[in-house]
Symmetry: C3
């Protein structure tokens, strides 16, 4: 019966919008799912969605609404969840994620979740951008000046990939160099956010094994332990409990090594 | 050449509807795929679908059509398979799964497959419910009286999760308590069915590692060995052979320990 | 900064269509995504799609455009990527994959990726076939004369499955016999292509463990090491980097054992 106490505790931390305002947000954009739709199938799911997720979870400390939007959009694209994507693209823009950052998130995930997932996101994003009057002038250019690299870290990464993958596929080695030398160094999305997107995508895709490298990279770029911890809480709801439980031992080991 | 003998054997167990009736069922609801659609792409796939799957598999002993519907709907929601979902929601209602149970299955899987998968299911289920005149009076309330818990088992579960997850994410620990104290104890779906849904979702999502706990829970709640075995046969067709082959060693170990 | 050299090197191998022709291909069929759509969300993604993927990747040596189409269609069906499927079904037909082969690929993946994924592919393929005037006369019959089996290899496979799965699910054993005795022996798709489809589907679904058996089978049927290597390069873009990195150690071991 611990959940009642938990709920009460968390509710105290929540700045909850009135139900009608939430419903209004929920019903934008047109093609999205309304609170009434959810209640017509499951009043319980309606309650969990409005109260527990949109109300309580999104208002918890340790991860800002802006970061939660980055994590959520990454999870949806990684899982090809187009039904919810319009709502969460709009919410991301409302929460301070810029159109330029969303543009980079889609591009970044083309590599981590496959180009077809990025294309599904394009179908949704182009309509959201059009509705908001977001033109190409607000988007990062195709070929910007790139951020400088940490040469030592990049040399180590290149050597690891060459040693691991080289004898199997030189093509994968070459395009991985492109991924790290070009995509990762684009200035339109901060390295810490790029890592947050990558880790979120890996977790909700059940790819725990590759979280070690990217979570370390995220924390090297400024992601705090409290934020990483709360990212897991958030992703339990958006990528399902099993994916989060699978990654817990991996995250625990990363944290232990960094603290030890 | 063993398949001919197998097919003959299984056909003898089958109560097959005439082809025209199957076609009719297949073509409901309007947006679904017809047998003619399948034949226009692959007459072989049409044969396997009508004869092997809808005819033979669904009529096999050891798992009732009602249980097969529970397993199938869980698999489709877990994999976000909206194209087939209208057909199988209808089939579930025809096979004796109640609207209240479907409502609970969607809610339960919000936690195990992520809220976005549940939302995709809502989009389909609301139309099926509307078409059948299923109103909110037939659905479980948002906050019912909960089933009593097995205090000892729950205390053990809480301790395990606290010990495993506590140092990584207190938020995950707290909401996992909510999941087990609240969602799992809702009376609208029998504990055995809730476990059957969970195990099915885990298997078709490739999450073998967490099947041990939930398959034991399912069998503690009344799932028989024969039913678990036949659930695997059924899921081979609905979640693909590789996911079933991956989980076989896990199931084997669970069965061995329970018998040993 | 290695990527510039790499890009230059690869560009030299590329027979790139003029941008306008690519845009035209890209905008067929009607429901598909145009280059303008991509640029409206991310000019960078537009560049990577047109130049790196459609231009450069598809023109690389070691895997023909025809084989790349087989691999791509398999990856899309395995991941239930219906948005991109019309474009790549059309491209496959343009690249010399026959309608009969596409028909068999859909049927084959019903077993490896689940019948619901095959049904989603049917929805797309039936429209592509209709638009091209491809009738049932161009499709393999439901029950053709089957290819002869390698009796020794098949007996070994049967024994392994019986020993591994028999005590857990006789149904899975029986239908696996059907899968290998019937589906795999259909003459409409060459064994080497059937294996290429299977391996591609396993990789993009994160099912590395079962790649060993099927990659060996593919190479026994004629897939070369260079083709396997380039398949990984191709799948990095279509199934995402993490799935390819996960399978690299498995592929490395298969290659080492075959060379050793």
């Amino acid at each position: 019966m611990k959940h009642l106490a938990t709920t009460a505790l968390l509710a105290a931390l929540t700045t909850s919008a009135p139900a009608s305002a939430q419903e209004e947000r929920r019903s934008l954009p047109a093609a999205s799912i309304t609170a009434a739709d959810i209640d017509a199938v499951s009043p319980a799911l309606g309650k969990y969605t409005q109260d527990t997720v949109l109300g309580e979870l999104w208002s918890r400390r340790d991860l800002s609404p802006r970061d939660r939007s980055v994590v959520t959009v990454a999870a949806l694209i990684a899982r090809n969840q187009t039904v919810e994507l319009p709502f969460y693209f709009e919410r991301a823009l409302d929460n301070g994620v810029t159109a330029a950052e969303l543009s980079e998130i889609v591009t970044h995930l083309a590599f981590y979740s496959g180009f077809p997932n990025a294309m599904s996101a394009v179908v949704v994003a182009k309509d959201v951008f059009a509705r908001r009057g977001i033109g190409v002038d607000q988007l990062p250019p195709a070929s910007p000046d790139l951020l400088p690299q940490d040469e030592a870290a990049e040399a180590a990464r290149e050597k690891t990939v060459r040693d691991t993958v080289g004898s199997v596929s030189q093509g994968v080695v070459d395009y991985t160099d492109m991924l790290f030398d070009d995509v990762w160094q684009r200035p339109g999305l901060a390295p810490r956010d790029r890592s947050l997107v990558t880790v979120s995508a890996l977790i909700v895709s059940g790819q725990s094994a590759q979280v070690t490298f990217h979570l370390n990279r995220a924390m090297d770029s400024g992601l705090t332990k409290a934020q990483a911890s709360e990212m897991l809480t958030h992703l339990a709801f958006y990528g399902g409990w099993p994916n989060v439980f699978s990654v817990v031992p991996v995250v625990k080991e990363v944290l232990a090594k960094r603290e030890g």
